[in-house]
């Protein structure tokens, strides 16, 4: 079974989720490129990437489950992992930035 034979009620949410994921990711990256101070630059990728990744992984779960006629939930592993680790990376980077700017002043 290929993607040609999928029913409409699977394809339509997948299209919407893929488009939303792509737009969110590109907005996050443009924010990373354009915003001025580091603390403003930080919040774009750490929010937008997580949401975009959630959209894309949900679309992937929908398509692969419909193709195999059973629930395939491998993508939940990636989702849980990213949701756990992305705030941790952001927090550590923020603390590193505060530490470095304090060390520069002295």
């Amino acid at each position: 079974m290929t993607t040609n034979e999928l029913p409409v009620w699977i394809i339509l949410p997948a299209i919407l989720l893929l488009t939303a994921g792509g737009l969110l990711t590109v907005i996050a990256s443009i924010g990373l490129l354009r915003l001025a101070p580091f603390y403003a630059r930080m919040h774009g990728p750490s929010i937008g990437n997580t949401l975009g990744l959630g959209c894309v992984l949900t679309a992937s779960m929908l398509i692969s489950s419909a193709l195999a006629h059973r629930a395939i939930v491998h993508e939940i592993l990636i989702t849980v992992f990213i949701v756990m680790t992305s705030p941790m990376t952001a927090m550590l980077l923020m603390r590193a930035s505060v530490h470095r700017s304090k060390a520069q002043k002295h």
Partner: protein, 93 residues
């Protein structure tokens, strides 16, 4: 409907390529080291999403495992760089 699906997949791939280009520019240009670390973090997440969309396009589940490995190693790399920027030892005894 299938043409629309192909179009959506191509659009998502284009968006991720654009996101990777933006992150690469910030990686090359970033004034401080933490900017570069943040850009590297964004770059690996974007490449992971590109792999997931490739897996949707070719309707296999092989790419999911590759994406999981990229997520693991990217997280370890980002945490190691951030702890190095904090001025501590990367691996504390």
């Amino acid at each position: 409907m299938n043409t629309l699906f192909e179009l959506a997949v191509t659009f998502a791939q284009f968006c991720f390529a654009l996101a990777m280009i933006c992150a690469t520019i910030r990686l090359l240009r970033g004034p401080t080291a933490q900017d570069r670390t943040l850009a590297l973090d964004t770059l690996y997440v974007s490449s992971m999403m590109m792999l997931v969309v490739l897996g949707i396009h070719s309707s296999t589940t092989v790419y999911t495992d590759i994406a999981l490995v990229i997520a693991l190693f990217g997280f370890v790399g980002s945490i190691a760089l951030a702890k190095f920027l904090l001025g501590r030892e990367v691996i504390e005894p």
